[in-house]
Each structure stands twice: as C-alpha cells, then as structure tokens.
C-alpha cells in the first residue's frame, strides 16, 4: 500500500496521506465546501479525514483556505504540506500554494480569475462564470467546485457527497445545491475528455487516489 519515498524504505512508519487544499478569497464558501468534502470522505466513505482552516480577520475578502487530509490510517499532522490536489480560485492563492504541490499533484484553477497561469500542468475551469451562466447565481460556486473535485479526483463517492451536501444546508436548498453539484460533474467530464477548457496536462497519469 505505502509507496517508498526516496531512500526511505517502508517499515510501517511512513504515513499514507492524500492532501487537498481549497483556496480562494473569504466569503466564497470554500471552508464550508472543505467541511462537506471531509465529512463525506470520513463519515460517509469510512476513510479518515481531517479538516483544518486558515483565515484572516476579515469575514469577507482576504485570503481563505482549508485543508483536507485523507488517509486510510490515523492522521497525525493535520495540515497540508505537500499537496496532492490544489483548488485555487484567485491569483493570489494560485501563486502562493502552487509551489506546495507534489510533482504529480492536481492543480485546478479558475480560468478567469487566475490570469497568470502557473508553469506546470493545470486544469483551468471557469467556475465562477459557469455558475453564473448556468445557475444564475454566484453563491453556489463552492458547490460547483465540490462537484468538479468529486468527478475529477475520484477521492470521494458521489453518494456520500450528495448526502452530506444535502445535510449541511436547510432543506429548501437541497435541489439547487444538487443542480450545482451536477454542473460540477459535467464540467469535470468535459475536462476529462479534453473539452473546451484551457488544460495543460503534460502526460496523463494515475491520480494518487488510486492507492487509497
């Protein structure tokens, strides 16, 4: 199960971790999105997941991020240091955190808000634009991102994701949230098939999730 990492041989002490960071600006709902993702993975799918968040003093605006660490074993250190998946919705978060990605880590950026594209493989998706266009409101962007990650990274089962998304919000939002989630699935399918998105993938590779 555990991969050997450089010179260190696996002798039962190397932690098996998959590290996700969702980053953007405060108020985009990414911290809540991370909570749902982690809850679906941990309570829903029965793996271990830890969610931590980092934010500035502002309730809106400012940089906000959250980390979700996934493992089949106990998780000790709760924050991400070497990312397997990074979602960056703003230029600042893309610039800041891209360097933390593993070589084969997945980078998902917002196609419009991250203008200076990073010098490495990435998937650029117009999350905000698509949400506005298809659903008529921007507030569901975080749920669209969740849908995208669910479909694209295959870290979490759709069943758990749909269940815990519905549970987090009042019942009246259930339908609109599900719609947003499905929009995310669709965007990811387009990305997988090399659709209309700005994608820079050097080679296709197995996502690290396969080892979980």
């Amino acid at each position: 199960m555990v991969k050997t990492n450089g010179t260190v041989k696996n002798n039962g002490f190397i932690e098996d971790r998959y590290e996700i960071r969702l980053s953007g600006s405060g108020g985009q709902g990414l911290i809540t999105a991370g909570v749902i993702l982690a809850e679906a993975i941990s309570v829903g799918d029965g793996k271990n997941a830890v969610h931590t968040q980092s934010y500035g003093p502002e309730a809106r605006g400012g940089m906000a991020r959250c980390d979700v660490i996934v493992s089949t074993e106990e998780i000790y250190f709760p924050e991400a240091t070497k990312l397997d998946l990074l979602l960056a919705l703003t230029q600042k978060s893309s610039d800041e955190y891209t360097k933390l990605l593993k070589d084969k880590g997945i980078l998902i950026i917002d196609a419009n808000y991250v203008k200076h594209k990073p010098e490495r493989p990435y998937v650029a998706v117009p999350f905000v634009e698509a949400t506005k266009e298809k659903l008529g409101l921007v507030v569901a962007t975080n749920v669209v991102c969740l849908g995208f990650i669910t479909q694209y990274a295959k870290i979490v089962s759709k069943k758990s994701m749909e269940y815990y998304l519905a549970e987090r919000f009042p019942k009246k939002f259930e339908e609109s949230n599900l719609k947003a989630l499905r929009l995310g699935y669709d965007l990811a399918k387009e990305a997988e098939t090399g659709g209309r998105f700005d994608i820079k993938v050097e080679e296709s590779y197995e996502t690290e999730i396969d080892r979980l």
Binding site: V8, K9, N10, N11, G12, F13, I14, E15, V35, A38, E39, S42, V43, N48, A49, V50, H51, T52, Q53, S54, Y55, G56, P57, E74, I75, Y76, F77, P78, E79, T81
Partner: protein, 386 residues
C-alpha cells in the same frame, strides 16, 4: 494515539469547538456565560443554540470578567457551568479565576489559544498561554489544566475537565489551540450510559453541622448549592472552615494547604498522558495539543530512519507529570520539547529532567502550526549534540 477501545456511540464530524459544546452538555453542563472572541466564539454560539434545548441557560455578558463571575454564581446556585474565551479574555478572567480557586467553586474555562501578547494574532495558532494558565492569577494555588490534541480527545477531556472540577471543587482550564478549535474530525460520541460523570458531594450532615470548607483528610469538602437550606458564606478573603474571613496564621496556612493538597492527593485521577514508542526509545519528544500531532509524525519519521524516538503526549499539563518526566529522563539520551511558543513547558521538563539527559526545544511562534519536519530536524540536531 493508542487504539481506543470500541465504544458504542454515534459518529459525527465535528470541529474542536463544537465538540466542547457536545461534551459539556453530555457532562451535565447547564449554564454558559461568555463574550465573543476569536477563535473560541463557536463554543458560545453552540451553547446559545443548544442549552435552552436541554433546559439549561445561556447568557452573553458585557465582558469576560462578568462571564466568569456569572458562571461562578451559577455553579454556587447548583449548575455545572462553563465559559470559553481566548488570550485577551483569559487575561480579564484571571481576577475571578482566583476567586473560584479560593472559594473552591467548580467551573470549567475553555481557552482556545491564539497568538499574543495583547490582541496578538486573533486567527492564528499558538500555545503561549501555558504559563498563564499555571500562574495567571495572583497568589498560591494549584490549577488543573487539560490539553487535548484531537477532536475525540476534546470531547473526552472536556468530560474529564467537568469531572475533575466537580470531584475536587475547583476550576479546571481546558486549553485548546486555534487549530484544534477549528479542526474537524470524525468523532464517536459515546452513548449516555457509557459516559462516566462525577458530581459534587452533597453534605452528609444537617445544616447546623455543615462546614462548607471542612478540612477533611482528602481535603475535598462536601459542597451544597445555595437555596438548599444550608446557609453559609462564600468569600474571596482567606477564610475558615465555615467560610468566614480570617487572618489567623494557623487558619490561613490550613486553607492554603488545603487548596494545594486536594489536587495533589488526587494526582492519579487528574493527570493523564499517553506514551508512544517509548518502550525502547533513546530520544523522547514531549509535546501536547496540536504540537503533539506534528510530534507524532516526526517520531514516526525518525523511527522510519532508524532513530529510536518516542513520544510523551501530555493531556494534563498542570499539575505537571513531573515523576513521569524524571523517569523518562533517566532512561533516554535526550528529550525534545515541541511547542508553539518561545519555550514554556520546556522549563518544567528541564526542572524534572534534573540533568539526567540533554533537553532541547522545537519551538514555533510565527502564527503557523509547527510542522513534523521541523521537529524531526531538531531531533537529529539533539542527537548530534554532545
């Protein structure tokens, strides 16, 4: 981080701060008074929502001084009571915290640590209130301070905090840090019948023979709430066994000794810690709270590289498990203390190591969480030093 025995219960995905609320209610807490402060506010919010549902009460006071005063009043009126705050609020609470020590009132204070001094770093992590929790209010007293390191431990140790305070008629401080307060993990909330709850001892004598501060062999007095027919006096002045002010030297000494002894005679019940990979360890890392999680990763990395490292994770930092540290110091070559401050717990470790081995620290105090690799590097440095 030993394997927990399987307990029946319900799995929930909770934040550290939310787990404090759930555990407090499970422990029988029915009163909360507080004042909003980052990063502890979720505890007040949770109590505001949940306490009326279980027949308890919540009140938002005008400041932290009033918040702790209100919970002391509530406890004297018979309720298990709690407040929650962070550094600046904890500083304001020191005055009445001292009152609760001398008047022997069971209360629980949660301090979700952030960076200081003063307003410091409201949204960033720190463990720099360790010594404030020990020596914050003036005078001689023996505090109980508890430091969980996972959301499950937050739940379990919040219950432990209430139990200690009820068992020993004393304030208990639950020290979380910003990361733990906001971190979410799956936890198992045990079924009600599986949770062990302690309650204050009701008097075994009628009112005319009742002494609220009776100097029993265990130094713990029977404690009855206001309004039960036992009319007595509670004061912040040094007092006799009846609760009346005194400055007679013998009585003063007896009262102060009682405050200390009642904690020390119950050390075994109060002090909790966990050891990992310590059986054959030649280097020990001592840590607590979120730092202990990074320390555990570092210890495992060291083991993977053939360094025989072990971890002592403290769950109760005050009273300090000095005997354990002394014993570890006698069997290892070096101790590394990992904490998110400029070196507070290390003073105590150093004191109890008594020169038997090398003692060094891995400190971080820039508002970010201490990382496993930093601790690992320090461990290698410690190993390399003579």
């Amino acid at each position: 981080m030993a394997k927990k025995p399987e307990i029946k219960g319900t799995a929930q995905f909770l934040q550290g701060n939310e787990a404090v609320v759930e555990a407090a209610i499970a422990a029988g807490c029915s009163f909360f008074a507080g004042y909003p402060i980052t990063p502890s506010t979720e505890i007040a919010e949770g109590c505001a929502e949940k306490l009326p549902l279980v027949g308890g009460a919540f009140i938002q006071m005008e400041d932290e001084i009033a918040s702790i005063a209100a919970i002391i009043g509530a406890s004297l009126a018979g309720a298990k009571a709690m407040t929650a705050t962070s550094g600046p609020g904890f500083s304001l609470m020191q005055e009445n915290l001292g009152f609760a020590y001398i008047a022997e009132v069971p209360i629980v204070i949660t301090n979700v640590m952030r960076g200081g001094p003063s307003t410091g770093l409201p949204t960033k992590v720190s463990q720099s209130d360790v010594m404030q929790a020990r020596w914050g209010t003036h005078g001689d007293y023996t505090p109980i301070v508890i430091t969980p390191s996972s959301v499950q431990e937050v739940f379990d140790l919040t219950i432990h905090a209430f139990n200690c305070s009820e068992m020993l008629n004393t304030p208990v401080i639950l020290l979380l840090d910003e990361i733990l307060g906001h971190m979410r993990e799956r936890i198992i909330i045990p079924d009600t019948e599986d949770i062990k709850i302690e309650n204050r001892k009701y008097p075994s004598v009628p009112p005319e023979f009742y002494k609220p501060y009776s100097n029993t062999p265990s130094k713990v007095s029977e404690f009855v709430a206001f309004g039960e027919g036992y009319r007595y006096n509670v004061t912040g002045l040094t007092h006799d066994e009846f609760g009346f002010p005194t400055s007679v030297p013998g009585e003063v000494e007896q009262m102060l000794t009682k405050l200390r002894r009642k904690i020390h005679t119950h050390r075994k019940e109060v002090i909790l810690y966990e050891e990992e990979y310590m059986e054959d360890a030649t280097y020990a890392v001592i840590s607590y709270g979120t730092s202990a999680r990074a320390a555990m990763s570092a210890v495992r990395k060291a083991r993977a590289h053939g360094v025989k490292a072990g971890l002592l994770k403290l769950k109760t930092i005050w009273p300090f498990p000095g005997r354990k540290v002394y014993q570890i110091a006698s069997s290892v070559k070096g101790i590394l203390v990992a904490e998110m401050n400029m070196g507070q717990m290390i003073r105590e470790v150093d004191r109890y190591a008594m020169g038997q081995c090398k003692v060094a620290g891995a400190f971080r105090y820039d508002g970010l969480v201490i990382e496993p690799d930093e601790i690992y590097e320090k461990l290698l440095e410690l190993r390399a030093t003579k």
